[in-house]
């Protein structure tokens, strides 16, 4: 019986859960929107080539709003969905009893951090 004297340690899960939740929204909204416009409407010619010309995209990604448009797109289309995906993989590994504990956690979230850093690096440089 818990007599209230011993308090359990706070879990760090809120951090990963918050990234997972934010990534879920991006997966549901930003990814389908991006795929629709870039992978469906554009090849079908329903979005003019002008709209995605080098100059226009370069301006949107690197110049408009101090370049924050590009940062927001990388974050919403790559980084946050990555954290969403690895969170599911991490918990899936636990559910299947294939791997649990700190090693699986470091590999999963480490991969998301590394790939996010590469994506942000490519945008930044």
């Amino acid at each position: 019986m818990n007599n209230g004297t011993k308090q359990p340690k706070r879990s760090d899960e809120p951090i990963w859960w918050a990234l997972f939740s934010a990534g879920g929204v991006c997966f549901a909204v930003v990814i389908p929107g991006s795929l629709l416009s870039l992978a469906v409407l554009y090849p079908l010619g329903l979005i003019s080539a002008e709209m995605l010309s080098y100059e226009r995209v370069h301006h949107m990604v690197f110049e408009a709003f101090f370049g924050l448009g590009g940062l927001a797109f990388v974050g919403a289309a790559i980084c946050l969905p990555l954290f969403h995906a690895v969170h599911r993989i991490h918990h899936g590994l636990h559910d299947l009893q294939w791997a649990h504990g700190p090693v699986a956690k470091v590999i999963c979230y480490g991969a998301a951090i590394l790939l996010s850093a590469i994506a942000l690096g490519l945008w930044f440089f």
């Binding site: 019986m1 818990n2 209230g4 706070r10 879990s11 899960e13 809120p14 951090i15 559910d95």
Partner: protein, 240 residues
């Protein structure tokens, strides 16, 4: 009409492991699983199972029916024309036949302090508006039957998980305008074995005979726990 039911039997003094036995029972449209078990008990007085109220209030008669946690009194043979297999509640240790040891559940329950914590002195009643009542009322219908623990795969993997009913009741008291105990309950919710073991499978809410929706309560608890973490980081003392 006559129907065959299969019951898991286990007598720890005689049997090495549980086994299944088939029994014939008389059934009509009104025959519940609990009625059928009582008929079997007439044939074999050694059959052990818990029951009390027969009206889905006491929460004693929980069993697995074809692998799904159910209250015996609320489940009817008419819904199982292909037959039914009655086994003890999953994720708990079997003591005898359909009786399981509910002690781990009761420990989890008491750990989250499921009662009103209010230090205010005085004889005046704590007035509550319908709006304040509506915030927690759904989560107050729990009868502690434990079906949600048998439904929860995470409790099955990790018996230290506080579990659906306990966390739903923690949320119920945290939402109560008369309660001041949230700060005492949050450390349990914030822990690894608190709300954060839940992966929102949602089967607890499906099997709940009182429509408490523990899955929703736990996930609202995750939001509370995340907010609590932010507050603890911003607080200079870091007391919590």
């Amino acid at each position: 009409m006559t129907q065959t039911i299969v019951i898991a039997r286990y007598n720890p003094e005689q049997d090495e492991k549980p086994h299944h036995e088939a029994y014939q029972v008389q059934s009509d449209d009104n025959t519940s699983v609990l009625d059928a078990l009582q008929q079997v008990q007439q044939q074999d007085p050694g059959l052990s199972f818990r029951w009390s109220c027969r009206m889905a209030i006491c929460g004693s008669c929980g069993v697995m029916v074809n692998g799904v946690p159910k209250l015996g009194c609320q489940t009817f043979l008419r819904d199982y024309p292909a037959g039914l297999v009655i086994t003890p509640l999953s994720n708990f240790a079997v003591e005898k036949d359909l009786i399981v040891n509910m002690e781990p559940f009761l420990e989890h329950l008491s750990a989250i302090k499921p009662w009103l914590i209010n230090t205010a002195e005085g004889t005046q009643p704590h007035v509550q508006t319908p709006k304040q009542l509506a915030k927690y009322q759904q989560f107050a219908n729990c009868i502690n039957c434990g079906l949600c623990y048998s439904a929860c795969p995470q409790f099955g993997l990790n018996p230290e998980f506080r579990g659906p009913a306990a966390l739903a009741l923690a949320h119920r008291y945290n939402l109560d305008s008369r309660d001041q105990g949230k700060a005492q309950r949050m450390p349990e919710l914030n822990a690894k074995n608190g709300v954060w073991t839940c992966t929102f499978v949602g089967f607890c809410s499906e099997v709940c005979p009182k429509k408490v929706d523990p899955a929703a309560a736990i996930n609202q608890g995750k939001v509370e726990s995340a907010k609590d973490m932010i507050v603890s980081v911003l607080k200079p003392s870091g007391a919590r």
